[in-house]
């Protein structure tokens, strides 16, 4: 086996595109899910770097062949980080919901106010 599995590549592509699609939604819950999905996509793409990923990383496979253990280690670290930050995001989304009773990303009030500004109030 010298090329990565096509199935894995397609999965990664689908995860990335759906992740970014979710990220562009206005509901914060969907944004959080988008981050989750993107995290999975990045972790899977780390696994894609090794063509022999189906073989065991430490004790050899049928003919004593090994897969590269480093992507596994990196993916593990990344999983831990994504997990921690996702919990934080969920807590944050909950706080937003508590404050406003909705979880939509609002328009930028400051920008809207400036664009409607004709002249400064304080002209003295």
């Amino acid at each position: 086996m010298t090329t990565p599995s096509l199935l894995l590549i397609i999965t990664v592509a689908v995860l990335y595109s759906s992740g970014f699609y979710l990220l562009l939604q206005r509901s914060l819950m969907r944004v959080v899910f988008g981050i989750l999905v993107l995290g999975h996509a990045a972790n899977l793409s780390l696994l894609l770097t090794d063509v022999a990923i189906t073989l065991p990383p430490l004790l050899g496979g049928p003919e004593g062949e090994l897969s590269d253990p480093l992507p596994h280690a990196m993916a593990l670290t990344a999983i831990v980080i994504t997990f921690g930050v996702t919990t934080f995001l969920l807590a944050l989304a909950y706080r937003v919901w508590l404050g406003d009773e909705n979880d939509e990303v609002p328009d930028d009030l400051e920008d809207r106010r400036i664009s409607s500004l004709t002249e400064p109030e304080d002209s003295s």
Binding site: L23, L28, V31, I35, L38, G39, A41, A42, N43, S45, L46, L48, T49, D68, L70, P71, M74, T77, A78, I81, T82, G84, V85, F88, L89, L92, A93, R95, V96, G99, D100, V105, P106, D108, E110, I114, P120, E121, D122
Partner: protein
């Protein structure tokens, strides 16, 4: 294992653990974090002293030979940045402690101290990481700490802003991880020196795509136009002590990462036109944004975006002189930006807000404050004899020397941006500092001066003064600093010294 390189990472993390244990006794917690940061400052000074002649210090964790183990590297640029950052972190910490003593802030000091030290560890690790994955880990430590810090004293606006901030930062982190995966797939290593060797033989198209990807995700963190929208929405909302550190350090760490990866890993010529165009856009768009804002913090945030453009401009030029200018600019900008945000914090103490609509006559309310604003603001605009002037002249000279339409356009944009910065600053000056103070401001000042929080206010003012002093010191010590920047830039332009230092002669 070189201890000097491990200290900036390990001591703050230990300090964080200690301050977490000491959370019931505020005084000892404050002493512990000040001590920790002092150790880091001294250590960084020694590090800079040892690398000042262009030497590159390398430490292989656990004596695993590169590229197998974790490599920490300090070249003059990294050492200089670690020193500048730790000085700023220490001064802002003392400022925050003054604020807490005076009871002038709604922050939770018990949580603030440990997370602040974790942030320090993350910033230091990002500067001295010798491989991409540890750079990623350093970024994550720094960012995770910043997510927690930006929500200190949560209000509705703060929670909203930190949501934006967290999601944007996470997106860039995930792209970073993807970038690491792609580089690893191409080269089979994450050690930057090793990648640099192996990417040389990679197809140029692939290298260009990777260079662009790296530019994009670090660009999000550095708030380069058009990826800057999150910054003016999130930084001004946080507590002053926190927005000061964020504005001074976090974007600069990303700029450092851009410079490190674009000079060491990729042949710069691949995308230098793109970098130049983006740099010019960043300068102009940022400063135009600053001109229409009417909150001092937001003006400063947009000015921050615009001045990131100067550093990227230097990188796009890519000559040793230009990179020396960038290194000096980084130091200057870290100090000045921190000072300005600290002054904004003092204004907030006096007036209660930083909206230009309702401030007048600050010069009468506090002449010292006016001076503390004026000096770094002039430095930001690049007026002689401030450090900003020296940094900008170095960059413009390099731009003129390399010639070409794009470089000249960049110089013109830089001059225009400096002028517009001056206008933005004088807008703040005439509106907020000039004129007769509003009666309620005088009243608020009397209340502030008579209360029990006077001591804390004095500490805050003194620390802002120290920061202004550091800014002046950067200008006074410009000679030696330019020398170090030049050495650092030569190391950057010619990556061979770095590669040899990390991999060793026989490893090549």
């Amino acid at each position: 294992m070189n201890v000097l390189l491990a200290i900036p990472l390990i001591v703050p993390l230990l300090g964080a653990a200690v301050t977490l244990l000491l959370r019931r006794t505020p005084r000892s917690q404050q002493i512990a974090s000040v001590l920790t940061l002092s150790v880091v400052v001294v250590n960084a000074a020694v590090l800079l002293w040892q690398t000042r002649d262009g030497a590159i210090m390398v430490s292989q964790a656990g004596n695993w030979p590169a590229p197998l183990g974790i490599t920490l590297v300090a070249d003059p640029m990294a050492a200089l940045l670690v020193l500048t950052s730790s000085v700023v972190l220490l001064v802002v910490l003392l400022y925050a402690i003054g604020q807490d003593i005076g009871g002038l802030s709604r922050a939770t000091p018990q949580i603030f101290h440990p997370i602040y030290l974790v942030l320090t560890a993350g910033v230091c690790l990002s500067f001295i990481a010798g491989d991409l994955f540890n750079l990623f880990v350093g970024f994550e430590i720094m960012l995770t700490a910043s997510y927690a810090l930006i929500t200190q004293a949560p209000t509705r606006a703060r929670v909203r802003a930190s949501m934006i901030y967290t999601v944007v930062s996470l997106t860039s982190s995930i792209l970073f991880l993807t970038g690491i995966a792609l580089v690893y797939a191409l080269t089979g290593t994450v050690n930057m020196a090793d990648i640099s060797e192996k990417l040389g033989t990679a197809p140029p198209e692939l290298r260009m795509v990777l260079a662009l990807l790296f530019f994009v995700f670090f660009g999000i963190k550095a708030a380069i136009v058009p990826m800057h929208f999150w910054l003016p929405d999130s930084y001004p909302v946080a507590l002053t002590r926190i927005s000061a550190i964020f504005a001074a350090l976090l974007t600069k760490v990303a700029v450092y990462a851009i410079i490190r990866t674009q000079t060491l890993l990729f042949l710069r010529d691949d995308i230098s036109t793109v970098i130049m165009v983006v740099a010019i856009a960043t300068m102009i768009v940022g400063i135009l944004g600053a001109l229409v804002q009417d909150d001092i913090n937001r003006v400063m945030s947009f000015a921050l975006v615009s001045h990131i453009g100067f550093m990227i401009f230097g990188l796009a030029l890519g000559t040793a002189a230009a990179l020396a200018g960038v290194v000096f600019y980084l130091v200057h900008h870290i100090v000045v930006q921190a000072t300005l945000f600290m002054v904004n914090g003092l204004i907030r103490q006096y007036v209660g807000h930083t909206s230009l609509r309702a401030i007048r006559g600050l010069t009468t309310v506090s002449p010292v404050l006016a001076l503390f604003f004026f000096l770094p603001a002039l430095s930001l605009a690049g007026l002689p004899p401030m450090s900003g002037f020296i940094a900008k002249v170095a960059l413009f000279e390099a731009g003129v020397a390399s010639g070409g339409t794009l470089a000249w356009t960049g110089v013109a944009a830089g001059v225009l941006t400096s002028l517009l910065t001056l206008i933005a600053i004088f807008r703040i000056w005439t509106r907020a500092f000039w004129g007769t103070p509003r009666p309620d401001m005088v009243e608020a000042k009397k209340q502030l001066r008579s209360g029990s929080n006077l001591g804390g206010l004095h500490v805050m003012t003194a620390m802002t003064g120290v920061m202004v002093g550091v800014g002046l010191l950067v200008a006074v010590a410009a000679g030696p600093l330019i020398d170090v920047s030049m050495t650092a830039a030569e190391d950057l332009v010619d990556g061979r010294a770095y590669i040899t230092a990390v991999l060793g002669e026989e490893g090549r």
